[in-house]
């Protein structure tokens, strides 16, 4: 069995808004091994983003334990979490979240400016170029976000997430703002990265997109409802029909 990159036990997250308490996560256990590709699905408000933000060290759980790459991150302070986000996590957002009026290259270089590695300018530039090359954007490094299509912007965001060579790539509805063909291309990139050994966790609403992963986790009301391996992975660009029947059959109530 491969090494666990994410190891979560009895994780809860409670938002208290005055009198009302919202249990966004109600006790989640999750194990993600190195090299896996997990799609998280579930209805709106089920707690997917909450889980992802905790996994990405952007937020802290109310209780429970979380080991990232063997490190207990649930107890880290603000600065320590910033270091972890920088070194171990690559985050891709639905709305791309690139810096405006900043070239693709500079956007991708940004994480290295906050890093602890002390890279030289030349090294930063080279790493950013390599990363842009990996997502198929060689030649567009001087374009600003407003001069790129949505799909290209998301590629820049993926290149930025990759550039520090993180242990895990997290994506919260990365294709939510893209049409189906572009979504397919972006999923192709995630599959390519996963084939190269990168661990990927992504949230999606679309079953078609989820079928590109190796494993689908269903969340409902802050709990994991089902967790299954995909028999027939859909390969991006190849257009294999999703095995709808198989998905439906394995849906079980806990």
């Amino acid at each position: 069995m491969a090494r666990a990159v994410i190891e979560i036990h009895s994780l809860t997250k409670v938002y208290s808004m005055g009198e009302v308490e919202v249990r966004a996560l109600a006790g989640v256990d999750l194990l993600v091994e190195e090299g896996d590709f997990v799609a998280i699905m579930g209805p709106s408000g089920s707690g997917k983003s909450t889980l992802m933000n905790i996994v990405g060290c952007l937020d802290r759980p109310t209780s429970g334990t979380y080991l990232l790459d063997g490190i207990d991150v649930s107890t880290l302070n603000r600065d320590q979490r910033a270091v972890i986000r920088n070194a171990k996590i690559g985050f891709v957002f639905q709305s791309f979240n690139l810096l405006a009026r900043t070239s693709a290259l500079e956007n991708v270089e940004l994480p290295m400016l906050y890093g602890e590695l002390g890279l030289t300018r030349g090294q930063r530039r080279q790493a950013a170029l390599d990363s842009l090359h990996r997502v198929g954007l060689a030649g567009r490094e001087n374009n600003q976000p407003s001069q790129l299509s949505g799909g290209q912007q998301q590629r820049v965001a993926i290149a930025r997430a990759l550039v520090t060579n993180p242990a895990i790539l997290l994506a919260d509805e990365p294709t939510g703002n893209l049409d189906s063909r572009t979504s397919e291309e972006i999923m192709g990139i995630f599959q390519q990265l996963n084939d190269d050994g990168k661990t990927v966790v992504l949230i999606t609403h679309e079953p078609d997109i989820a079928q590109h992963a190796r494993r689908i986790v269903h969340v409902r009301d802050g709990l994991i409802q089902s967790d299954q391996r995909i028999e027939q992975v859909r390969v991006a660009g190849k257009g294999i029909a999703p095995p709808v029947a198989a998905t439906a059959a394995t849906r079980v109530s806990p």
Binding site: G56, L99, Y114, G118
Partner: protein
């Protein structure tokens, strides 16, 4: 250590890029400081220029100089002058004859008029004086001769003109021997005064015509009451003695009982300089407070725009934090931006201030003296203001929660 240096270097890069990314915002942030610093420099330069040129004019009176004018002095030293002058030509003659410490005495009549020479005319001031006057003011001629005692006694229509008048009425030169008409009275130019300079707030000492006081009284003013008497002591140390002698003599001639108020007032050059220094101090304090206020307003401007910018850039801050920026990084970035903008703004302000001062000097003809001290102080204050007013917004930015910042619309 090396790591810390690289990291600080990285923040510098991040900050500079942020400044250049939004040029309009950066410009607006700087504007307050530019105006503040520029204002300080211009205002101090004008104050200095005024002080210096007035001082020069006063110095040019010579340290032996004494001025006697009609009117009583109040306790505070202000002059009350109601109606008729009680000083006469005979008073001047008596001072000359009876005060041993006094070397020169001249009656002074002042009026103004349009001077016409051929096609040209020039509005100027006309002064009636006695033959001692060039000695009192230590003023030589660059051409011709001063008028004589005989000219004064016969109220001859002759005059000596200042350099500015000569330049305007006789642009080709050769003024001596020509005729200048003042209020339709033809005056023969017998000499041209040396250029004195010392322009004081628009008052040009070289812009005047000097004629015998008898002629000015009779032909131009139609009065025999004396405007002023000027005198010179034999030497600088004798000024006090000369003033005592003059006071005693005039009180006796005007029959003022012991203990009564004099109907005239005297000022030595030193006293004029002191009174002037007092006024200049008030002027400078006033100007400096205006300048200080404008600097503070500039600082508040920086803070406002930085605060708006933190709100406007909340999402940017969230993105930076999501990819690994610590609170400290964000704090330093915003602080660096504020300091850079105030220093660059300060530099532009210094240049603008010097430029505007030079322009003002050229347009107004006043001497304007830019002081290195005002540059140093306003620049220092600009930097301090940038740090002080940039710190609060920067701190606010660094305390943002990454999730909240990312969600911010």
């Amino acid at each position: 250590m090396k790591n810390a240096v690289t990291r600080l270097g990285n923040i510098t890069i991040v900050g500079l890029k942020a400044i250049f990314r939004n040029k309009l915002r950066s410009f607006l942030t700087m504007l307050g400081i530019v105006i503040g610093v520029g204002c300080v420099i211009v205002v101090v330069a004008i104050g200095n220029g005024a002080t210096q040129s007035i001082q020069e004019t006063i110095n040019s009176l010579g340290s032996n100089f004494i001025m006697i004018f009609p009117g009583a002095a109040t306790q505070s030293g202000a002059r009350i002058f109601t109606g008729q002058s009680t000083m006469t030509v005979e008073d001047a003659d008596a001072i000359k004859a009876e005060c041993p410490s006094v070397a020169y005495v001249s009656v002074i009549m002042r009026t103004a008029g349009q001077a016409v020479a051929g096609e040209l005319n020039w509005g100027t001031s006309v002064m009636g004086v006695g033959v001692d006057w060039p000695f009192i003011r230590a003023w030589n001629l660059s051409d011709g001769q001063f008028f004589t005692d005989a000219d004064v006694r016969s109220a001859a229509k002759v005059c000596v003109i200042g350099q500015t008048v000569a330049d305007n009425l006789f642009p080709q030169g050769a003024a001596v021997g020509q005729i200048v008409r003042i209020k339709n009275v033809p005056f023969k130019v017998v000499g041209v005064l040396e250029k004195k300079g010392g322009n004081t707030m628009g008052q040009d000492q070289d812009d005047q015509i000097v004629a015998p006081y008898t002629t000015v009284m009779k032909r131009l003013m139609g009065q025999t009451k004396v405007n002023m008497i000027q005198a010179a002591a034999r030497n600088a140390t004798g000024v006090q003695q000369a003033m005592t002698e003059i006071e005693g003599l005039l009180r006796q001639r005007h029959r003022i009982p012991p203990g009564g108020d004099s109907d005239f007032m005297m000022r030595s050059q030193e006293e004029i300089a002191q009174a002037n220094e007092q006024q200049m101090k008030i002027l400078r304090t006033l100007l400096l407070s205006i300048a200080a206020i404008s600097l503070v307003i500039g600082g508040i401007g920086i803070m406002n725009i930085m605060l708006v910018s933190v709100t406007e850039r909340t999402r940017e801050i969230g993105i930076r934090m999501a990819i690994g920026a610590k609170g400290r990084h964000v704090l330093l970035q915003f602080l660096f931006e504020a300091i850079t903008l105030s220093i660059v703004g300060g530099l532009i302000g210094v240049l603008a201030g010097i430029g505007v001062s030079a322009l003002a000097a050229k347009l107004s003809g006043w001497p304007i003296v830019v002081s290195p001290m005002s540059i140093a102080i306003s620049f220092g204050v600009a930097g301090a203001v940038g740090i002080a007013f940039g710190f609060f917004p920067a701190l606010k930015a660094s305390h943002l929660d990454p999730i909240d910042a990312l969600r911010y619309e």
